[in-house]
Amino acid sequence: MTATASKTKTMTMVAAINEALDLALANDPAVHIFGEDVGVMGGVFRATDGLQAKYGVDRVFDTPLAEAGIVGMGIGMGLAGLKPVAEIQFAGFLYPALDQILSHLGRFRHRTRSRYHLPMVIRAPYGGGVHTPEQHADSPEAILAHTPGVKVVIPSTPSDAKGLLLSAINDPDPVFFFEAIKLYRSVKEEVPEGDYRVPLGKARVVTQGDDVTVVCYGGMVEVAQKAAEAARTAGIGVEVIDLRTLVPMDTETVLQSVEKTGRVVIVTEAPRTAGFHSEISATIAEEAIEFLRAPIVRVTGFDAPYPPFTAIEDVYRPNPLRVAKAIRKVMAY
């Protein structure tokens, strides 16, 4: 973390993201923001609000409605010396662009032996909890984490959102920046002013505890925190770790905690099979199995599309009760 920022300001996550984008545009003429409705309208969640008015239609612009075009064009912009920051309106609409991402974005440095690199950021709102229509609540982070050559960042607080986004925009390599829709406006926090950065690849220990390690990120951090509070009243010490970035993953912080607690619960809202939680689980099994006192338990969504049914959405998305039960389970083993 840079120490340049001394003053702070209370703000929501979406305001923090807006401020980071504003600073990035102000600091570097190479930064260009584009996507669907990001211009006059300022994005469907207003993350780019006011930026076109401030920086002009060349720096902040609306594109035709086509995700492969957005990512593909961004790749070309990155090749030719700009820093493209694209918004995909919802992570569930990244899929049309997956060919550009898998075939090119992730492997451009490799396939040109570093002659070209892509300092591109793709922001996308993701995740559930706010009763969005079909396809608007997907958590596709594992697809990206499985793609060599791209980084994956998922903040869970306003100050992290600002600090990580500025790091992402200044990173020489492509970064996916997933923003939990649920967190956009639900939390406010003191956010450092100025060019505040949080490095990629460093996890955050949210709460300390000696009995159970809960590994989570993004929209699941507040869910895990609530479960941890409940567990504390029952005398169980829970260490909640917010990964912040899946690629690169801060294995060290996770393993140190596991060595201390010997019990692990992993929480995500993505489907169960082959999710990023499986990667965390495998890493712990490979590196720290001798410290485990109980099997690792995953609390996840299901191997079904995220349900657009308001009445039962909360059944799919992990809630504090499910996490608390998992904590009890690893304690009782």
Partner: protein, 375 residues
């Protein structure tokens, strides 16, 4: 639900008029831009470029053809990997790429070795690419040519981005991207044309209609009979040009490049040519096409056509032709020697160039890999 009146069908053209217009539309040769006829005579002498341009275009085609022909031999000798030949498409590739300067971008497909050589990609690097050596991927710093694209059509939106970036940075540089007739069925092709039009990107799109997408002839690829017309749907100019006439491809592309530089936006150019050769050196076209399919195309050969014209006009003599051919051959053999001297990659190179800084995970995997290969 309230019942609505069925909307009236739009008026339809009378069948006869309709058929007549389709027939006119179908007449490919009639609607193709051409300067040089197959017999080497000029159909548009008024558009003849200066002698130095004519000679350069011929030289580029000769270099490209030499690569293609020697490539086959080297492949059979096991000295080159599988590569897609382009012999017969030199006018389509060299005439178009010759309209660029080294400040412009070139986004070639796997078949566009001729275009890349014309922009200046060194022969040795190109050989290295088709030998699957990393030396062929490290594109020279003084050129903005990308490694040959293997996935179909993905380069098109990227060219729009590069073009736009040049414009935003205040240069007059343009981006040129290639695609095949098959590739123009992909969504990326259409998204790119639409983006380029909507954002007025200085982009020149070359659609090489060489008659085939592996085994699928163009008439089965699409019901459209004039692919340049696709431009209309995106509000940008589309031009159909005789793709075996290097004077025509150069002229049209040069105009499109000048238009792009002047801020007048993108152009789609369909070069009508033919893949007389197999899809790759390892392909057997007898499974999907007949000699009849190829009939007539040998006479349209772009190199021979230009040679006749240059001989007729006295710009080329038997002697200067012989000199040119031996220069081209010597250049190639020297490049081959250089390519032979490139060392093989080491195993750990598969983990290089993933990120600017390797992640902890990549560092660990490198150590594992090295331990394994040393064991």
């Amino acid at each position: 639900m309230t019942r609505k009146k069925t909307p009236k069908a739009p008026p339809r053209a009378e069948p006869d008029a309709f058929e007549a217009s389709v027939a006119a539309y179908d007449d490919a040769s009639g609607s193709m831009f051409q300067i040089l006829a197959p017999d080497g005579t000029l159909t548009r002498p008024d558009l003849l470029p200066p002698a130095d341009v004519q000679l350069r275009l011929y030289r580029e085609m000769r270099r490209a053809r030499h690569f293609d022909e020697r490539g086959w031999v080297l492949y059979r000798q096991g000295r080159l990997g599988v590569f897609p030949p382009f012999g017969g498409m030199e006018a389509s590739q060299c005439g178009t790429a010759a309209a660029l300067t080294s400040d412009d971008w070139l986004f070639p497909t796997y078949r566009d070795t001729g275009a890349a050589l014309t922009l200046g990609l060194p022969i040795a690097r190109t050989l290295a690419y088709w030998r699957t050596s990393p030396h062929g991927w490290a594109m020279p710093e003084n050129l903005k040519v990308l490694p040959f694209y293997i996935p179909i059509a993905t380069q098109y939106p990227q060219a729009v981005g590069a073009a736009l970036a040049e414009q935003r940075q205040g240069t007059r540089n343009v981006a040129m991207a290639f695609i095949g007739d098959g590739g123009s069925s992909e969504g990326d092709f259409h998204e790119a044309l639409n983006f380029a039009g909507a954002l007025n990107a200085p982009c020149v799109f070359i659609l090489q209609n060489n008659g085939w997408a592996i085994s699928v002839p163009t008439r089965k690829q699409t019901k459209a009979t004039n692919l340049s017309r696709r431009a209309e749907g995106y509000g940008i100019p589309g031009v159909r040009v005789d793709g075996n006439d290097v004077l025509a491809t150069w002229h049209v592309t040069n105009e499109a490049v000048q238009r792009a530089r002047a801020g007048e936006g993108p152009t789609l150019i369909e070069t009508v040519t033919y893949r007389i050769k197999p899809h790759t050196v390892a392909d057997d076209p007898s499974r999907y096409r007949t000699e009849e399919d190829n009939a007539g195309w040998a006479e349209k050969d772009p190199v021979e056509r230009m040679r006749r014209h240059l001989m007729n006009s006295g710009l080329l003599t038997e002697q200067s032709e012989a000199e040119l051919l031996s220069e081209v051959a010597a250049e190639f053999e020297a490049a081959l020697q250089e390519a032979d001297s490139y060392p093989d990659p080491t195993p750990a190179e598969i983990l290089d160039h993933v990120f600017a800084e390797p992640t902890p995970q990549l560092r660990k995997q490198r150590a594992e890999l090295l331990a394994e290969v040393d064991a």
